[in-house]
Symmetry: C2
Subunit: 242 residues, 2 copies
């Protein structure tokens, strides 16, 4: 333990290069638009081959921290859009993460031929059968959210035999439909009579609404509306780039 740099761990070189550059960007030392040293300059500075600095810069480019332009060089990117990563975990995970006990209750489940309203809600022209589900999630036995869901059986036929009395449809889908794409819409409403009763809140109390449409390879899978008591629930999102 004499000659070697006494740093206990030894981060690899390309990671060190990447971290060095990232730090200068994040601290503002290299503001948006600033040109990163050329690859051959970094080669000289770190005493390594071009592939090594290239790997560091490529990862920064993939992470949208820098922009690479042929012949011109690499530049610090201007924070493009203020975007936030909103974690919308499956309901059980969301509640247990808060240190509360999770409860689930199926209110109703109906398998039916798709009505015009169903097709409209799922955004499809034709649909065979659908499952309509209403259920309630609770935390420490207090209503946490009510869920109103439609599943397109022509996309997920296995859902017909799933036991939604035992497992929430969100969890079931998460485990049986591998990769999806979706769109969320968040809005606010005030509770009507039915909602108020289901959530055990006052009529006219604010509610947070999440509408989620989920596809898999361009096939609609499910449409769901989640209603949360608006003053007690909070969606938290951490984000980077602003």
């Amino acid at each position: 333990m004499s000659l070697a740099t006494n740093a206990a761990d030894k981060p690899t070189l390309y990671k060190r290069i990447r971290a060095d550059i990232e730090k200068r960007i994040l601290t503002g030392e290299w503001p948006p638009g600033h040109r990163i040293p050329f690859e051959h300059q970094l080669m000289a500075r770190y005493g390594c081959s071009r592939m090594t600095v290239n790997k560091a810069l490529s990862e920064l480019a993939q992470a949208d921290l820098i922009e690479r332009r042929r012949r011109a060089g690499s530049f610090v990117r201007r924070p493009q859009h203020m975007s936030a990563v909103l974690k919308i975990a499956d309901m059980r995970a969301e509640i247990t993460a808060l240190g509360r006990s999770y409860g689930y209750e199926l209110i109703h489940r109906k398998l039916r031929a798709a009505t015009a309203a169903d097709r409209d809600r799922l955004g499809v022209k034709t649909a065979g059968k659908v499952i309509a589900i209403a259920c309630r999630h609770s935390a420490d036995d207090v209503p946490f959210a009510v869920e109103d869901r439609l599943i397109d059986l022509s996309s997920v036929p296995e859902a017909a035999s799933a036991d939604f009395a035992r497992e929430p449809p969100g969890s079931w889908l998460l485990h049986h439909v591998p990769w999806t794409e979706a769109e969320h819409t968040i809005s606010a409403i005030v509770a009507d009579d039915r909602t108020a009763e289901a959530l055990d809140i006052a009529v006219g109390a604010p509610c947070l609404v999440i509408d989620r449409y989920t596809w898999r390879s361009a096939r609609t899978i499910t449409a769901v509306r989640l209603l949360y008591p608006g003053d007690s629930h909070r969606l938290v999102a951490r984000f980077k780039g602003g």
Copy 2:
């Protein structure tokens, strides 16, 4: 145009490899947990060197589509958390993107020594001076959102001389504070008297609330609360992985 594959464009090899694998994952052909062919197998299949397949796999790993384990191989990742990318653009962009005209109005601006409440809101122990701002954004001359903001001048001293009567504080900060990290909290409330008047809605109407705390390298910069009419405004988020 005889021997060459007549594909007009020529995507590079590693991109083709990456796309091939990504497609099999996204279609579900390779479900979560499935082992990707070993690098040496892909080398043989595509007739290229190991660095080339390694680059493809590394990018998939960086994108969290696969997980790489030494000695074991590479595996399709289970969709880890249902996360959504929420685009919360700066207000002018958000409104003009809707094809509506943007209007801005400063309601008040006050520079003061930080009170205990201010420090609490900014989440800092000590703070010198702060700027408190209230303003209103409108779309086609209809109130769109009201903003209530606190800026920590010890982090952004330049803000003291900014003309917030002309430029919204959000835009100003976006252009003067290069990189930030932030946390968003979304909730719902019902409009009280003051809010109802500012947004020109009824008392008791639902409002969407976005609370945003912004840091730069561990320094608090600003805390802002945005209030939107809840039934007319919608936050839309597209996401992947579910």
